[in-house]
Amino acid sequence: MEQPNLNYIKELSGNDKAFELKFLDIVKGEFPVEKQEYISCSERKDFKGTAEIVHKLKHKFNILGLEKGYKLAVAYEEELKRGSNKLKDDFLRVLVTIENYILTV
């Protein structure tokens, strides 16, 4: 399973440690809320709403260096727009990986 990394955040910060911490705090605060929104929307089988949240979440995949995860999210978003959710479990696995990772940084 692809693992997240802080490469983009470090490049963004330009070695500004205070910014890195502040930025990670924002990710740690925002991600669980978005994940929960995603789960609720997905359980309601609201494909359009779920696609919108996936669209937002895929930016986090990018920020955390998850290239394969990002491609999966793009495909999943398109699938949802077509009214299908076969990639749901794969997507959830990426979310759980991120959730675990941000507890360690």
């Binding site: 983009y8 910014f19 930016h59 990018n62």
Partner: protein
């Protein structure tokens, strides 16, 4: 220094744009918004140079946002969607289109684009202002107890001749008992420029400038050394 607002429902995305803005000395952040409606209310009260705008926001897209504003500032769209670029460039206000995740290099290029767009807008606004002033205004002069109306746009130049001034239009010349100083006060300064102790010219009528003289219609008008920088500053010069 330009000012901006950031509009994105995602806090991490706002933090990235804010970081890049802080890293450049060219732009200052006035406010950040997590929803479009609050940003529109703010823009209705304040003048802002540029908006960094997310396309996908709940209930209100970036395009809805641009269409809602009567006189939108310059807009830089930010999105994860590569397919919206063509649609974006249909809007005059949208000067650039950035794909998430943003990079510093690309953001800096965007700032250059915004600066150029703002400068070009100023030139266009100024040119329209000058054209408006030249077309709309008029001056009444007293000749033999008769008040004659001269449209600003018809006046080519005014020359001081002792206690008189000579006003040259495209068709006539008028000699009026007055001073250059007094007539200057009656003329719009965007259109008329004193380029010599004895001459005021209609800036929009310049045909060419050579060394220390200006050609207007068939008249060659001297430019004094002290007035030359002022004249050059007025020119929309392609350097």
């Amino acid at each position: 220094m330009m000012n901006c607002i950031i509009v994105d429902d995602e806090a991490t995305a706002r933090a990235i744009v804010a970081k890049f803005c802080e890293d450049t000395s060219e732009i200052v952040i006035k406010e950040e918004f997590s929803n479009a409606i609050d940003a529109i209310k703010f823009l209705n009260k304040q003048t802002i140079d540029v908006v960094f705008l997310d396309v996908h926001m709940p209930g209100f897209t970036g395009f809805d946002f641009v269409e809602t504003l009567k006189t939108p500032p310059k807009i830089v769209l930010i999105t994860s969607d590569k397919d919206l670029a063509l649609q974006a460039y249909e809007y005059d206000a949208i000067v650039d289109y950035l794909i998430k995740p943003l990079t510093k290099e690309r953001f800096e290029k965007s700032i250059v684009k915004v600066k150029t767009a703002i400068e070009n807008q100023k030139i266009i606004n100024n040119a329209s202002k000058v054209a408006r002033a030249a077309n709309l205004g008029e001056l009444f002069i007293n000749i033999d107890r008769r008040l004659i109306k001269l449209k600003f746009n018809d006046i080519l130049l005014i020359q001081a001749l002792g206690d008189y001034i000579k006003i040259k239009t495209e068709k006539e010349e008028y000699k009026v008992h007055n001073t250059l100083k007094k007539v200057k006060e009656k003329l719009p300064e965007d259109v008329f420029l004193q380029i010599h102790r004895s001459y005021i010219i209609n800036f929009t009528k310049i045909i060419d400038i050579e060394d220390n003289s200006v050609l207007i219609d068939k008249s060659v008008v001297p430019i004094s050394r002290s007035n030359k920088p002022k004249l050059m500053k007025h020119l929309n010069l392609l350097s």
